[in-house]
Amino acid sequence: MSRFRIEHLNTYRYAHRVGLNYGEARLLPRAAAGQRVLERTLVMNPFVDDYRERDDAFGNRVVWFNLRQPHQSLSVTACSLIERTLAPLPATSPAWNAVVETLRQPLHGETDPECVAAREFCLPSPHAPFEPAAVEYVRISFTPGRPLLAAAADLAARIHAEFAYRPNATEIDTPIAEVLAERHGVCQDFAHLVLSGLRGLGLAARYVSGYLETTPAPGAPILLGADASHAWISLFLPNHGWFDFDPTNGAAIGEGHLTLAWGRDYADVAPLKGVVYGGGAHSLDVGVTVTRMCEN
């Protein structure tokens, strides 16, 4: 069991004064398997005139806010304390094609509510649309009869091995086919590619937004704010729950993977969304610091 403190700072600066500002933040971490949230707060500067917290359709914590006085910058800082216990993956799992059969809903009688909810993650979504090439890529790891979790681990390893991590080469809406053809991208490109492929097979898979503790090289100082938000995927195994894999790092997640929110794809869990009236050009600076607390 470990504890982590997360500080996630976002600063918007606007060229001109903003009159009205409406925003939605998904920056308060949610509880998840192996993760307890001990503290979470969101601080905004300047003060907002209207602040509401709620859980969204996927159970993520959302803050809706509105500023009415003119301002030229806005900072949104989320601070949280998380207790993390890493549960090992089950040694065995059913064949993936059997899972697909279970997920395929018979229409009569009472159905397992977990499976009903999971169906939402079997369907294509705006950033992870149906893409035959992605299905073909994924199918190489998902040979008939192969256990689900073993196949998923293999897939994650293949992404890590065959794709180059290249920041700024892609945009948030770069098509999956292009990522697949170029064999490069960043974490959310890999997540969307894998989601599209897994859903194409009939599996339920969701997008997880979170943080990754980055361990500095031995001897190097810890750089505050250098940690970044991260994204990976989670796969549904009926009667067992969800299991997370990190295609960017080629394996199942570790203790340093801290979950913020989940949804069908990036668009459901964007950390900060906003609409402002006035303001002109704007910039956003983001800093994330993940600190492992000393065991006491």
Binding site: N10, Y12, L20, Y22, G23, E24, D49, D50, R52, R54, D56, A57, F58, W64, N66, R68, Q105, P106, L107, H108, G109, E110, T111, P113, V116, R119, E120, C122, L123, P124, F130, P132, Y165, P167, I172, V186, C187, Q188, S209, L212, A228, S229, H230, A231, T248, Y266, D268, P271, L272, K273, G274, V275, V276, Y277, G278, G279, G280, H282, L284, V286
Partner: protein, 841 residues
């Protein structure tokens, strides 16, 4: 020729009027006799009358990519569709049940979702639909009616039964057109409507008003209701403005609303007004750029949150588009049993959802026979008829369905019944479908409009977008039966209170409407002055001698129209003539006549709920004359000046008529004042610019007299001048008449006094306005100039001072206009969607 016996129904279709065995069906007989008795001449007269009424009432339906632009006239067939009252009662009951059922389904899916948990609906059918708006989950109170409006597209099959072809729940359109169709028919065929005891439509509006008024969650005496429209470019904008005017609500675009403290507010000249209920005609996905489509500029940021907090009710609610999914159709009988404990009364078109294995196999095996539809509209793939597809297209559809089967349905095509329509002077069978409209009456169920919008075509496909013919729909009682009981109660006290609430609301003027009315006033005045001046100059060109006084006025005119003196013209007469032609007919550029007229029409469309039918008639004439005639003249090389003059004359008459009618019909309290403020300020500006330009040109006595005549003519004051002074124009007299004579409605001082009076009234109800000071200064300058009355000769010292003064007055008027705009009109700051930083690793 028009008599029913000569009508030839199609051999294998059910005909609404004609039965092969017994001839004309009983409920048509009255009308059929009437039809037969009308001569062919009467027929064509009535058809023309319908067309003219629709055109004059401004009934339009905007068809995308139609070169006729904003105002395409609605096509209404003079022959209505008749339905027997007894049959209608059955249909009504079926529709009412269907509305109740869909309401229950909606509340469940945005609430507990027991239908999914109990396996009564497959989850993919919901989760995959674009109308499933996740931000609205949990935001619909499950204990209250949510579906306020329901519309259904109905058609009769060859078996004579009425089938439901589709459900409209998002923001159903068409009821306004149905009401307008009826009012036009009532004016064209009053005797037939009377004889056939046709059920009346107007009480339904009362039911709508009651339903909307009751939606407000807030315990306020009069719920403030607005109609939210995407604006004049929308295909059914006519209907939005029509309903707003008929129901007495403010018409608002997204920018007219703002969310503060989790509430919705209307921006009005009286300040922010709280809004309790929104009659929504903006498609739901476009309603909030924060939580729904981020690229939308039609919505209101924060609207979803206001809904979530229960501070505003929308009709229909956000998320109701989910019910338009045709894949729901096959599940409705089971849902009716489960949710209502009732048997579904109306049959729906046989539909197979490809998200299910056996159904998909059926569809794929019968592709060439079925109608193929995506589960939501607006996707790349539209509805197609399998029979229309060639081998290659069928293969493409097969591949599309196999790749994502849950996104498609197959539907059994229905052989639509036919009904007689008038085409080329003959009665011909047209395939018909009927859109019926219902509105919630709370616990009492739904009230249906007794009638609806019938559309028919002699072609294959039916849709307003592809330009079908429309018909009024009459629910008639066959003699011997009781006339239909009105389905909506209408007590005297209810209509009295409706009257009171209407009056309250009509006092609120949105900032946008005030803005449009003010500018309508300015553009109208400018167009009128410029047109008069053009005519005056044209007249001057007819004279034998080249008129030396013409050129300076022409330059002043060019300046008013935003041209530089070098842009056209020259020394001799033919150059001047060419120049006038160009000014008159040139394609739009800022300031010229074409542009001014277009801006005027734009402002009028933007406030169409304020204008009377008589005004529409004139606006229509302006648009037709301008758009068609004058434009054509321009293109025709060497077109005669007489013709230009003729059309300019017509334009002036229409514009002057508009000004007069507007003054009489606009609501006095506020709307009229903004409109008239615009006119007064524009007239003051035009007058001072013209005079100062003319004075600057230092003409000889003869030429100056000519210039002054033209200036007087442009102010429509030449005759007044002659009568008053019994002389040809001279400067001192012109100045008195056009500048400082308090009694002359054309005088600058009169414009300023009137504007100041309006301002005083408006600031009384609203905020202070900084326009008062510049208007006061302008008035001072005029009095000062008037006092300096001695010597206006060209060389005299008073003349440059007067020119300077006129310049100052124009400056003050411009400042006043800006101050008015700053105080009252919406100044929407540009909206930016903030892009979040995506995760990097």
């Amino acid at each position: 020729m028009l008599s029913p016996p000569e009508y030839q129904p199609l051999p294998d279709a059910w005909d609404e009027m004609w039965d092969a065995e017994s001839g004309v069906r009983p409920h048509w007989r009255e009308l059929a006799t009437g039809l037969a008795n009308l001569g062919a001449r009467d027929w064509s007269a009535r058809g023309q009358r319908i067309h003219r009424l629709l055109r004059e009432n401004g009934v339009t339906y905007h068809i995308y990519n139609d070169p006729r632009g904003y105002s395409r006239t609605w096509e209404l067939d003079p022959i209505p569709l008749l339905l027997d009252a007894v049959e209608w009662q059955g249909i009504e009951a079926g529709l009412e049940q269907r509305a109740r059922l869909l309401d229950r389904v909606l509340r469940d899916l945005y609430g507990p979702q027991t239908l999914l948990k109990r396996g009564l609906l497959p989850p993919d059918l919901i989760y995959a639909h674009a109308g499933y708006l996740r931000p609205l989950l949990g935001a619909m109170p499950a204990d209250r009616r949510q579906l306020t409006f329901y519309a259904a597209d109905l058609a009769r099959g060859p078996d004579g039964r009425i089938w439901v072809m589709g459900d409209r729940t998002q923001a159903p359109s068409g009821a306004g057109y149905a009401l307008e169709n009826r009012s036009v028919m009532a004016r064209t065929f009053p005797e037939f409507l009377e004889d056939a005891a046709v059920a009346k439509l107007n009480p339904w509006l009362e039911a709508v008003r009651g339903a909307l008024g009751g939606l407000g969650n807030v315990a306020r005496e009069n719920a403030q209701v607005v109609v939210l429209t995407p604006g004049p470019a929308n295909e059914t904008y006519f209907e939005h403005a029509y309903l707003a005017a008929r129901l007495g609500y403010n018409l608002a675009q997204g920018d007219d609303l703002t969310v503060r403290d989790g509430r919705v507010w209307l921006k009005s000249v009286q300040g922010l007004q709280p809004v309790d209920v929104i009659l929504r005609r903006v498609d739901e996905a476009w309603c909030d750029p924060l939580e729904l489509r981020q690229d939308s500029r039609l919505g209101v940021a924060g609207l979803v949150e206001a809904v979530r907090r229960g501070n505003v009710a929308l009709a229909n609610p956000l998320g109701s588009g989910l019910l338009e999914n045709p894949a729901l159709i096959p599940f409705l009988p089971v849902l009716a049993k489960a949710l209502l404990g009732e048997k579904l009364l109306l049959p729906s078109a046989a539909t197979w959802w490809c998200g299910q294995h056996r159904e998909r196999e059926h569809v794929l095996a019968n592709l060439p026979r079925l109608v193929l539809k995506p589960i939501h509209r607006g996707q790349a793939s539209e509805t197609v008829i399998g029979a229309d597809l060639d081998r290659k297209q069928l293969a493409a559809w097969r591949a599309r369905i196999e790749a994502q089967p849950h996104l498609f349905v197959g539907q059994e095509p229905l052989q639509l019944s036919t009904t007689p329509a008038l085409q080329g002077g003959r009665l011909l069978p047209h395939k018909a479908s009927l859109r019926a409209f219902l509105v919630s009456q709370g616990e009492e169920g739904y009230a249906s409009l007794p009638g609806g919008l019938t559309r028919c075509t002699s072609g294959r496909l039916l849709s307003s977008q592809s330009g079908a013919l429309n018909k009024d729909t009459w629910i008639t009682s066959v003699s011997g039966l009781q006339p239909l009981a009105q389905s909506t109660p209408q007590s005297a006290s209810a209509s009295a209170s409706a009257l009171a609430s209407n009056r309250r609301e009509s006092e609120i003027l949105t900032s946008r409407a005030a803005d449009n009315l003010f500018w309508a006033g300015r553009y109208l005045e400018r167009a009128e002055a410029v047109t008069r001046l053009l005519r005056a100059v044209l007249d001057g060109l007819w004279e034998e001698e080249t008129a030396p006084g013409l050129e300076p006025v022409l330059h002043a005119l060019m300046r008013l129209m935003g041209y530089a003196p070098g842009d056209c013209g020259g020394k001799d007469r033919s150059d001047l003539a060419t120049c006038v032609r160009e000014l008159t007919t040139q394609n739009e550029r800022p300031g010229n006549l074409a542009h001014t007229v277009r801006c005027l029409l734009g402002c009028a469309y933007g406030t169409r709920e304020y204008w009377s039918v008589a005004i529409w008639r004139l606006l229509d004439r302006v648009e037709r004359d301008w758009g068609q005639r004058v434009g054509k003249l321009a293109r025709k090389v060497g077109g005669g000046h007489e013709r230009i003059d003729l059309w300019l004359g017509r334009l002036v008459d229409a514009l002057a008529g508009l000004a007069g009618l507007a003054s009489e019909t606009l609501p006095r309290e506020t709307g009229f004042r903004y409109f008239d403020l615009g006119r007064r300020i524009e007239r003051g500006l035009t007058q001072s610019t013209l005079l100062s330009q003319t004075l600057q040109s230092r003409l000889s006595g003869e030429a100056e007299r000519e210039s002054l005549s033209l200036v007087l003519a442009s102010a429509d004051s030449l005759i007044t001048f002659r009568r008053r002074y019994r002389s040809e124009p001279f400067l001192a007299g012109v100045l008195e008449l056009l500048l400082w004579d308090n009694e002359s409605p054309r005088a600058l001082i009169y414009q300023i006094h009137t504007a100041r009076r309006h301002l005083a009234e408006l600031t009384h109800v609203g905020q202070r306005c900084n326009a008062e000071r510049p208007l006061f200064s302008a008035e001072e300058r005029i009095y000062a100039a008037a006092a300096n009355i001695e010597d206006w000769r060209i060389e005299g010292p008073a003349r440059p001072a007067l020119i300077r003064t006129l310049g100052e007055i124009a400056g003050h008027l411009t400042a006043a206009s800006e101050a008015i705009s700053l105080t009252w009109f919406t100044h929407v700051q540009e909206l930016y969607v903030l892009r979040p930083e995506p995760p990097r690793p």
